[in-house]
């Protein structure tokens, strides 16, 4: 009796719920095939497993660093030096630029060109106009063709560009055992590590290659050069240049000066750029502060007003 009433009551309730569900969600229940797979529990499990698989495979793929090169092929990462001219409020040290140009002229220029820098760009930066005219006149340039179509030679002018040591790439390779000395005009921008890399490279030649290192014929060992085998030998030795201002010409001093000079060659606008940037940021900060003040001034009556709601008095 009791069992029968219980058994009877359940189907009734179940039928009532089913009919209610069917009438309210007919579209979904009729379109979905397997109803057990759509249960909330199964959906949650499926989504959780899929998320776990995706996260796991992503961690597997991206979690470990992949190196295309060995550390030797990568090259030793250069030390980060506290370059004074790299600070946001410092110009180049123009006396250092002048020394660096001397190092370039006397050491680097025999193999490396600086073809994108004209003589005139030194005037008022590290040399007087008379000094630069003298430098330019030391070199010969082609003239325009004359009446007979012949091209003659003339001394250089301030508007000429610094001549390259070799007439073309093939000549440069032939003179350097197949290795091409890169143009130094933009070398600071063109190498990872910039100033740090070039300074480390110039000063990083060990006296002899470490045990176990293989150095090819005609090559030199430098840990900072990718692959460690560099065709350029060490060129900066103490006293190889005699500075006119009496600065001791140590290896690191010359390397520092020539790196700063090459940075100037790559970024001759740096001094002006930094000064204009400081001016603009200071001015715009002031204008921004004023605009904030004006906004608060204009909004203050709205921000400080008080709305009072007086409920209607019920007439009773």
């Amino acid at each position: 009796m009791l069992a029968r009433t219980v058994a009877r009551s359940v189907p009734f309730r179940g039928i009532a719920r089913q009919s209610l569900n069917r009438s309210s969600t007919r579209a979904s229940s009729s379109s979905a095939g397997a109803e057990s797979a759509n249960s909330p529990f199964n959906l949650t499990v499926t989504a959780s497993v899929a998320t776990a698989v995706a996260a796991g495979s992503a961690a597997y793929l991206y979690g470990q660093e992949a190196f295309a090169s060995t550390p030797a092929e990568e090259g030793l990462h250069p030390t980060a030096y506290p370059w004074e001219h790299a600070k946001w409020n410092k110009t180049f040290d123009h006396a250092g630029l002048r020394r660096g140009f001397q190092v370039y002229r006397e050491v680097c220029a025999s193999c490396h060109s600086l073809t994108r820098v004209p003589w005139r760009s030194f005037v008022g930066v590290m040399h007087t106009v008379d000094e630069m005219k003298a430098f330019a006149e030391e070199n010969e340039y082609d003239t325009e063709p004359n009446d007979q179509g012949e091209i003659e030679k003339r001394p250089g002018k301030l508007s000429d560009y610094i001549p390259a040591p070799y007439p073309n790439e093939e000549a440069a390779r032939a003179a350097n055992g197949g290795a091409l000395p890169p143009d130094l005009s933009l070398i600071v921008k063109g190498r990872h590590g910039g100033c740090d890399y070039i300074f480390s490279l110039l000063t990083g030649y060990p006296d002899e290659p470490p045990a176990g290192a293989t150095v090819a014929e005609g090559m030199n060992f430098n840990p900072y050069f990718p692959g460690t085998g560099i065709a350029m030998a060490r060129v900066l030795f103490d006293g190889v240049v005699e500075y006119e201002d009496g600065t001791p010409a140590t290896t690191s001093q010359m390397a520092k000066d020539v790196v700063e000079f090459l940075n100037w060659a790559a970024e001759p606008e740096m001094d002006d750029r930094k000064k204009m940037g400081v001016k603009a940021i200071a001015l715009l900060s002031g204008l921004f502060a004023i605009s904030v003040w004006v906004k608060r001034y204009k909004w203050s009556p709205i921000k400080t007003r008080k709305l009072v709601y007086n409920p209607p008095v019920s007439r009773r």
Binding site: A95, E131, K279
Partner: protein, 68 residues
Amino acid sequence: MSPLPTDSPEKGLIRRNAVYLTTIFAGAFAFEIAYDTGSNKIWDAMNRGRQWKDIKQRYMVAAEEDDE
């Protein structure tokens, strides 16, 4: 109700458009000159001894002696 009293200097300034514009232009010129002069002075003080104008005396004097 005007926001400014009639006898204030601001009121006299914006009453005539020519005076107003002249004031704005003159003020812009004056501010630019003052701002550039001041910021250049600060910049040169921060970079004392580093720029060409600080070191050119050594080389200009030598060049003049060569000419004479």
